[in-house]
Amino acid sequence: MTIDVDILDGPLPPAGSPGDSSPADPRRCAGARVCFEGIVRALENGCDLIALDYQAYEPMARNQLRELADEVLSRHGLLGVHVRHSRGRVPVGAVSFRLVILGAHRQESLAAMDEFIDRMKKDVPIWKTPVFA
C-alpha cells in the first residue's frame, strides 16, 4: 500500500510523461486504477481566464493531504493513493490537480475518489486566484 503526496510548481506534467510519477503496483494486485485531473477552465463566472494562481500553506497542506490519503486508503481498503497539486500559476487547459487511486476493485476506488476530493475541497489549505484576460 502506497501513499505519495507532493505539491509542485506550476502545471503538472502530463500523466505518463517522464516528469509524472505514477503510483507503483509491484505485485499487480490492482484491478482498478482511477485517475482524476483538475483542469483550469477558460471561463470563470462568464469572464475569460488566462490562468489560476495557486497558493498553499504548505506544511499544513502536505500533512493534511497525506493524512487524508491515509484515512481514505484505510477506510476503503485501497492499494495506493497518489496526489499531486500545483502551486503558483497554472494556465488555462493545464492540469493543477491529479489524484490517482489504485484499488482491487472499481467500487471502493470510485467511492474513495469522491470522498478524497470532497474533503480536500473543504479542509486542505490551498487557494486559487483567477487571472483574467
Binding site: G38, Y57, M60, N63, D123, P125, I126
Partner: protein, 81 residues
C-alpha cells in the same frame, strides 16, 4: 502576549498582507485570537465568522489556548483541487 497570525488567500488579499500581529490579554484562546484579529483588521470581519484557526499546522477548536511558540494561521474558505 503578541501573536503573529498568518493570512492566506482571500483573507491576505483583503488585509493587504500575509500576516497580522494581534495582542492577546486575558483571553488567550483561539476565540480570543479571532476577536483580536477582528479589532486589528476590521476588513476581515465577515471572513472571520466562518474561518478556522490552525495552530502548528493543525485545525484547533476555539477553546484551544495559544502557546508562546505556536505558529498560528487563519484559514478561511479554501479552494484547492
Amino acid at each position: 502576549m503578541t501573536v503573529r497570525v498568518l493570512l492566506f488567500g482571500p483573507e491576505a488579499a483583503k488585509a493587504g498582507r500575509d500576516h497580522a500581529f494581534v495582542e492577546l490579554a486575558e483571553d488567550r484562546t483561539c476565540r480570543g485570537v479571532k476577536d483580536a484579529l477582528e479589532r486589528a483588521c476590521p476588513v476581515l470581519q465577515t471572513a472571520l465568522a466562518s474561518a478556522r484557526i490552525a495552530a502548528n499546522g493543525r485545525f484547533v477548536p476555539p477553546e484551544h489556548i495559544v502557546g508562546e511558540d505556536d505558529e498560528i494561521a487563519l484559514i478561511g474558505m479554501v479552494s484547492g483541487g
